[in-house]
Amino acid sequence: MIVEHKGDPVVFRAALREWLARVVPADWSRKMLRASSDEFVVFQRWWMEERRKVGMATPHWPAEFGGADLRLAHEIIIADEFARANAPPVTLYIVSLNHIPATLLQWGTQKQKDRYLPGVARGEIWCQGFSEPSAGSDLAALRTRAVRDGDNYIVNGQKIWSSYSMYADYCILLTRTDFQASKHRGISYFILDMRAPGVEVRPIRQANGHARFGEIFLTDVVIPAANLVGAENDGWTVAQSTLAAERGILSFERAERRGYAIAALVAEAAADPQSWWREPALRAEFMQIFAEAQASRRLARALLAEKGGGVPLSKMTAAYMKLTSTSLMQRIGDFLVRAHGISAQVDPTGEGTASEGMREYLQSFGETIAAGSNEIMRNLIAERDLGLPR
């Protein structure tokens, strides 16, 4: 158990590094490029199980719920080592590992915590049922209805952009429970069992050909009142805790991974006498990207420090992080596409950097749109950080 070494950060890091070197399959990313959805899920489950064996499934959770009570410093070490080793990200478990504890530890009843938190380490998958076809940027306009019926709520409506919902065991669901209240006031937050009758999920294929999101159709779905998280009609407040989960160690790990990827790009290009590295304009463009990737790493650290109680960088550091890091991802993809010319246009599932370009580029639009579009981030920055009038 690696977490046993948590008392000594140096030993902890070394144990982690040794374990990663042993357990991460060298060819996992190549295999995943052409994997079917089922293969992807099997691989993610395998990886979660491997992590669990050494106490690395939910190490940052309280011991009470199967975690190891690790602090921020250890989370940083873990993210850093996982990024350095290019270990598989736990894509399928992002909501399970981050959003669920961020929400339930603060708002869940003891029963809810006891029942749902330990399951995550065993591989239970959660999804998020927030957005709706008519409530994207304007999330609070959601229309899915939950009507009280004795000890239950009867839910009807439709959710969209719910990552990996087709594989999920549970869903955190926002619904409208007060139809007279102003739009932020009539929302309630539920835990939904995805196997309940009346729940149907249709995968949504994306521009890059993959189906990461699902559309959830809810028809007379019965949710026990015990699954209400927080008070009835107080769901908007609860949801803020969920959304805040995006802004901590997750963005840190992403920035770290990007740092390593950027360094690998230079090494590869510089070693190839035919590469874009020989074109001064592309090289100069890349050097600015290199600098911004480093800025992104520093910004992610500043955000973590803020969460740890440090002096805030700004009133909206998380919005800056989201806006700049997703825009940078788009520019990196765009850069690679141009730098690799016609060879970037073929072999969509190829292994080389030339193929990676279009994948990164297309994927980046998911990032600039999702989780609060960059347009919403600009509004937030302008109004809440710069103080411009609404």
Binding site: A207, A281, N374
Partner: protein, 357 residues
């Protein structure tokens, strides 16, 4: 051109109408999923309506509308994201129309009996050598056009341009991002050279190729911006159409201004002949394809989540835009070549910026 304007306009309108019928969202889905049926239907429609004959001279059975004519057709094809090897075939027919030895081949192309292919990186072909009998290439050639194309045009190191016959059995289709268009590989040794032209023909083909890429990109930019604006008028958030948000409005206006500018640059290339044609076509393809990339990228963003789905067409325009950007050399290479052209032209006293009245 002036006296033909009405005819060309009516012709293009009919091309647009036919394409609108054949290419709805579902048809685009089928193309993206690898179904070749839609492409076959469009090609056969094009054959029966004579779209491939618009540019070539009347004595070869065409309408004689020249480069301006095929650019107009390609703009319509680009707007509709039409699948198939139209672009290299139109380009090849147009070139061979001026090439005494190309007669029979032109007839086949114009009739749609055969299609033609062109190297995807046309312009950096100095790795292909030809000694009058034997073609030598260091590796496989990456070609733009259908893998069952009967002909291809190949510039070689000496400056010559070869018209070759291809053996479809020797080609290997490549998977690529823009599935409405094909890229394939072939070994130089499997090609059968029919006729050799000179460097003027190579330059002429490059001019047409670039012109058509610019026209395709222009049509695509206009179409995807129009779709985006329609979406902005109906999609509501925060109780109002998103098109009423000023930040989005200004982005749409900037894209529209880019397209207005790009369209003028494309016009300049179409109107240019002889000495300055290559120069302007290089600048035009570079400018318009970049506008297309920018417009299609903004279209995805402005559509929000919907724009990022496979079912919606935005990503198809984006993939087409990125392919156009990469074809016939990178835009930086084209601008570099244009810079050299410019110095040469200024030295000879040619009026590079002349605008025909």
């Amino acid at each position: 051109m002036a006296e033909d304007a009405f005819d060309t306009g009516a012709l293009i309108a009919s091309v647009e109408e036919v394409l609108a019928d054949l290419l709805d969202v579902r048809a685009h889905q089928r193309i993206a999923d690898g179904d070749a049926e839609v492409e076959r239907r469009i090609w056969s429609t094009a054959r029966s309506l004579g779209w491939l004959s618009i540019g070539v001279s009347e004595e070869k059975g065409g309408l004689g509308l020249g480069a301006a004519g095929i650019a107009a057709v390609q703009r319509a094809l680009g707007a509709a994201l039409a699948p198939g090897p139209f672009l290299p075939t139109l380009a090849a027919a147009q070139l061979l129309d001026t090439w005494p030895a190309g007669g029979d081949v032109v007839a086949d192309l114009v009739a749609g009996e055969a299609s033609a292919a062109i190297p995807a990186d046309f312009g950096v072909s100095n790795h292909i050598s030809w000694d009058g009998k034997q073609l030598t290439t260091p590796g496989k050639l990456l070609m733009f056009g259908a893998p069952d194309a009967r002909f291809c045009l190949l510039p070689v190191r000496s400056g010559a341009l070869l018209l070759c016959e291809m053996d479809a059995k020797e080609t290997r289709a490549l998977d690529s991002w823009d599935r409405s268009r094909a890229l394939f590989e072939i070994a130089g040794a499997s090609l059968a050279p029919l006729v050799a032209g000179d460097d003027r023909q190579a330059a002429h083909l490059e001019w047409i190729f670039l012109l058509l890429l610019a026209a395709d990109s222009l049509g695509g930019s206009e179409a995807i911006l129009a779709q985006t604006i329609n979406y902005m008028k109906i999609r509501e958030q925060f109780g109002q159409p998103i098109g009423s948000f000023q930040a989005l409005k200004h982005r749409a206006a900037n894209l529209s201004a880019d397209i207005v500018t790009s369209a003028r640059i494309a016009e300049q290339a179409i109107d240019s002949h002889d000495a300055v044609a290559g120069f302007w076509s290089r600048l035009a393809k570079a400018a318009v394809s970049e506008t297309f990339v920018r417009t299609a990228g903004e279209a995805v963003q402005l559509h929000g989540g919907i724009g990022y789905t496979w079912e919606h067409g935005c990503h198809l325009y984006l993939k087409r835009a990125r392919l156009n950007e990469a074809l016939c050399r990178s835009n930086s290479a084209l601008r570099d070549a244009a810079a050299s052209d410019l110095i040469g032209l200024l030295a000879t006293g040619v009026d590079v910026m002349e605008i025909a009245a």
